[in-house]
Subunit: 215 residues, 2 copies
DNA sequence: GTGAATAGCAACTCGCCCGTATCATTTGCA
DNA sequence: TGCAAATGATACGGGCGAGTTGCTATTCAC
């Protein structure tokens, strides 16, 4: 006895393939936003649906469950952060110090990006429930940069620019220093100025190069 | 019409003040454990109650709600991690390098402690809901150590042991390096050996001292 | 055009958990 | 000794969110 005396239907209908695909991208963007803001548990499917003016039904038509939607959205964010090799190579400057500074800035901008740091925290926080996401993040985002720094340093060692050393330790230490400051600042609610960051990056690079100066 | 034909009573009764206090400590320990393991949302009051063989009733007699219980338990964990000033002073060794190594080890052991890193992650993850906890952690745990390193370095500058420099930057960079490696390792599921850590700490201290060697 | 697949909506079920209330029981403490 | 505090057992209201289903409306394919 579905009377429907006052049919409140507003809009419906099957969208074009392009329309559907665009909506789907919107959905993933919204899901990412909300997950980053509120975490996995607190974010509800209906919050996401409301954000893009859909209903749960439509979301569940594409994604089997909340966990899968989460994985998909986060993996997408990780992929956006991947730096392709040719970009890394393009960071090569003439002088070692300038190259390191360029790499440092690349990472800082990733972290300072609208939700860059939240992504890290979310992935850490959910690393129990989604260990594969954590692994993916390290493998695809963190590690390549460290490895690249190590390679740059190794070349500098070979060229006699710096003293022989454990380039892996040095690279890891360098990235830790670069990231540590901004992370503390941003998480603490501060927005470090370009100048402050510049100062810190300069300090870090100088410290590393002085520490590794050939005897 | 509560019949209660089969009263399955087992045990009850009023405990001694000391007993009650002891149970209360047990409760907070259990709550902390579970919050660290599962996070705020997933952990339920009944999980905590079961862990210490209590009922919700008893918990709610002491804590107005779940959020307050969370704050109390976490604050307790933070306080346990606070290093009293006299302990910091006792880390002073004759040589600057040895002092820095001692400080580094102190922090590494905090992080490698059974739930040391989880505490950080939990606090970060819940920093939206409980910003005051996040602030407390930084103020009471992170910052004092960095400040102490800065003070140690300043004294070394005054003594001419190292070149004049921004000791705040240097201290921050040092602690970042010290913490960065172990964090990546532990979160990644690895358990770095004492020897590996020793090697890293040694490397870090040497890098800093060489980088700051007086001209 | 016509039929079938598809996207959409709304309402529903189911289960979970917080917080509270009730009653019985034990026991510290005055 | 007797009272009240403290706790256990249990039930339940209220709310909420995940996932499902029935139905409708539109578009794609032939």
């Amino acid at each position: 006895m579905t009377d429907k005396s006052a049919p409140p239907r507003v809009r419906a209908g099957r969208p074009t393939r392009e329309q559907a695909e665009a909506r789907h991208q919107e959905l993933l963007d919204a899901a990412l936003d909300l997950f980053l803001e509120h975490g996995f548990e607190v974010t509800t499917i209906e919050m996401i649906a409301a954000r893009v003016s859909m209903t749960k039904r439509t979301i569940y038509a594409r994604h089997p469950d909340k966990a899968t939607l989460f994985r998909t959205a986060i993996q997408r964010a990780i992929e956006r952060q991947i730096v392709p090799p040719h970009v890394l190579e393009a960071l090569e400057r003439g002088k070692l110090g300038a190259t390191l500074e360029a790499i440092a800035w690349l990472r800082i901008e990733q972290i300072a990006a609208p939700h860059g740091l939240r992504l890290q925290h979310l992935i850490n926080a959910e690393s129990h429930r989604f260990p594969e996401i954590f692994t993916a993040y390290v493998e695809q985002s963190t590690r390549p940069l460290i490895d690249h720094v190590a390679a740059v340093l190794q070349r500098a060692v070979d060229a006699g620019e710096i003293a022989p050393t454990r380039v892996d330790h040095a690279a890891s230490a360098f990235m830790s220093m670069v990231v540590g400051g901004p992370v503390r600042a941003i998480v603490g609610g501060l927005a470090p100025t370009r100048q402050e960051l510049d100062e810190k990056v300069g300090f870090t690079v100088r410290l590393l190069l002085d520490g590794l100066r050939p005897r």
